[in-house]
């Protein structure tokens, strides 16, 4: 044995990870830069005069309008505006909402917690449920469990989120026939929310329906992805080896098939976060959940373009960051790419 060669190979791969993370971060920065540029031009394509839209329903003198325009920096040339916009954005200044007259970032800050609570819970539930069920279904394709799971997820996949939300609202919040209206009709907590554990329960109760809606629509995708990923693994030789070793079926699934199948799923889970966010917009609108999605919905309805722009920017950037994180996590998890 030429140990020298063997030892050479043992050189740590840490700097590889660092470099990988750095490349990914660089890529993310580039993406974010693209988002900022795209956002600027997208919102510059707006028809009409935002200030005029702002004045809608109210009486404003031309002087006032000009003043407002100057305040929003809309009187400058496009390149000037662009530089200004980029500078602002880089300083985490997303501008001032037309409607609320307050910094968009503040408005976002006030609502991001609710959104994180809702989407976070929904995501965790959807991921765990979807992956668990998908793994079981894919392990025995064609079994009854598989058929039922696939059928359910296909139906849920085809259901428009808002429609499902409305139906759930009508059934479980309003109550129909023998079903009592057991869940609240709006919001993230009661007005007189009790303190302590009861308060937590109160929020939990408010969260049931929106969360259910979001989970229902999102989890189907995770299930299907995990299912096919497991099916892919089941045919592999190392599974046969594990069976030859005398392992129990469930142990093979748990110890061998699922860890391998999970890897390709990780990126997908994160990639679908954009989808979750999209779902959150509708769900928050239906259940009056005081989060970012609702803010965005409101911004669209008004329309409040700075707010829309700010929320869009934030959502997009965070989804990009999440994905970058996913890449790095994947990198950490998969020994194959880890040292590559």
């Amino acid at each position: 044995m030429t140990t020298t060669v063997e030892e050479l190979e043992q050189t740590p791969v840490r700097h590889g990870l660092l470099r990988y993370a750095a490349t990914k971060a660089g890529g993310a920065l580039l993406s974010i830069a693209m988002v900022i540029v795209a956002t600027f031009f997208l919102f510059r394509m707006l028809p009409g005069d935002p200030v005029r839209a702002l004045a809608q329903g109210r009486n404003m003198t031309p002087e006032q309008l000009d003043l407002e325009r100057a305040r929003l920096g809309l009187d400058k040339s496009i390149p000037e505006q662009f530089l200004h916009f980029v500078g602002q954005t880089l300083r985490f200044d997303l501008g001032v909402s037309y409607e609320y007259k307050r910094p968009v970032l503040d408005l976002i800050g006030e609502r991001i917690g609710s959104t994180l609570l809702l989407t976070g819970t929904a995501l965790v539930l959807a991921v765990s449920l979807g992956l668990w069920q998908g793994a079981r279904a894919g392990w025995k394709p064609g079994s009854r469990f598989d058929k039922v799971s696939t059928a359910i997820s296909l139906v849920l996949w085809s259901v428009p989120t808002f429609w499902l939300g409305l139906l759930l609202l009508m059934v479980f919040a309003a109550g129909i026939g023998p079903i009592p209206g057991m869940f609240p009709t709006r919001g993230s907590s009661s007005v007189d929310k009790p303190d302590g554990f009861a308060g937590v329960l109160d929020v939990g109760q408010h969260m049931v329906l929106p969360c259910l809606t979001l989970v229902a629509v999102v989890y189907a995708q995770y299930l299907l992805v995990m299912r096919s990923s497991v099916i892919d693994e089941v045919g592999q030789d190392y599974i046969t080896t594990a069976r030859a070793k005398g392992l129990r079926d469930d142990d093979i699934r748990r110890k061998h098939a699922v860890p391998n199948a999970l890897l390709p799923t990780v990126t997908l889970v994160f990639m679908r976060i954009g989808f979750v966010v999209g779902g959150a917009v509708t769900v928050e609108a239906i259940f009056s959940w005081p989060g970012l999605g609702q803010l965005f919905y409101e911004a669209i309805r008004v329309p409040d373009f700075t707010l829309m722009q700010g929320t869009f920017l934030l959502i997009t950037v965070s989804v990009i960051l999440m994905n970058t994180l996913a890449d790095v996590v994947y990198h950490l998890l998969d020994p194959r790419v880890r040292s590559a």
Partner: protein
């Protein structure tokens, strides 16, 4: 016919290091000659073959076909590729599963706009031993056996009436019983059409079966070359000797230690010295690990690149 001079091909490898897959090769294939290029996995055989076809651009060195250096303009390449054709290891993979045999064979003539397509195709198929050719026209690759597929690939090459055939492991993926037939076909084509061939292989038996000349490659360089009988029966280079010794029928084995060579880390001096059984046995010379060896010229006579070789 086809000659490579001081050919080098590098790839960007891991960690910024460059893999010198082909590192100074002189090789020529004469008219009507079958040359076998042998060596272990990763030594650069395929890269060399691809470079000879112009599929890879050499980092340095040049390729001369019929006296004219190969130029990489689209038009010149196309003309060159009418003369020099490629047969790959995996006949299934070399055929587009969605194309019929006819289309697969007609692809070359179509690209080059040859007239009388159908006749050309039928002729090529017949020459490759698929007779009557019409029976095969509409078959899909998955409806053929491995040997038939390889014949279709060869027919595809023949349809352009090439002068040189470069075959990269042409039988490695075929069943043992089919292998002989394909090799016989190559020999027959050489005899009938005067085709030259460069056969890339790791199988010394194959070289013994059909090659006029053998070149043994190690880590991007040819370390020994010469007429088949001389090289295989009386190997000079320790590496060739080791290769021959691990054949099942050989009486005693020289099993080389160490890892397969890595083209990103080519040892100084003789590139074989870290694994050389002679060096390991203490018979090495100091220059084995210090002084680089001369690159073997592209000759037809026996030659070897080794400080320890007896001749």
């Amino acid at each position: 016919m086809l000659e490579a001079t001081d050919l080098r091909v590098e790839f960007p490898g891991r960690g910024g290091r460059r893999a010198r897959a082909v590192d100074g090769v002189n090789l020529s294939v004469g008219a009507g000659e079958i040359v076998a290029l042998v060596g272990e996995s990763g030594c650069g055989k395929t890269t060399l073959a691809r470079t000879l076809l112009g599929l890879e651009r050499p980092t340095s060195g040049r390729i001369v076909y019929d006296g004219t250096p190969l130029s990489y303009s689209g038009r010149a390449l196309r003309a060159f590729r009418r003369q020099v054709q490629l047969v790959l290891q995996d006949p299934m993979g070399s055929l587009n599963p969605r194309h019929t045999v006819y289309e697969a064979v007609a692809e070359g003539p179509r690209i080059h706009g040859l007239p009388d397509e159908e006749a050309v195709v039928a002729d090529a198929l017949a020459r490759a031993g698929l007779r009557p050719p019409e029976r095969f026209f509409q078959r899909f690759p998955h409806e053929l056996s491995g040997g038939q597929r390889q014949r279709v690939v060869i027919a595809g090459a023949l349809a352009l009436d090439p002068k040189v055939l470069i075959a990269d492991e042409p039988v490695a993926s075929l069943d043992a019983s089919v292998r002989g037939e394909i090799l016989s076909l190559l020999l027959r084509l050489r005899d009938d059409l005067g085709l030259s061939a460069l056969v890339v292989t790791h199988d010394l038996g194959l070289a013994w079966n059909i090659a006029d000349r053998v070149a043994v490659m190690y880590l991007g360089r040819i370390v020994e070359s010469g007429p088949t009988e001389e090289v295989l029966k009386n190997p000079q280079h320790p590496y060739t000797q080791a290769l021959l010794s691990v054949l099942p029928e050989s009486p005693e084995r020289i099993v080389l230690t160490g890892e397969p060579p890595d083209p990103t880390r080519i040892p100084a001096g003789c590139r074989f010295h870290p694994r050389c059984q002679l060096v390991a046995a203490g018979n090495g010379k100091p220059e084995c690990s210090t002084r680089p060896l001369q690159i073997l010229p592209a000759g037809t006579e026996s030659q070897v690149a080794c400080y320890l070789a007896t001749t």
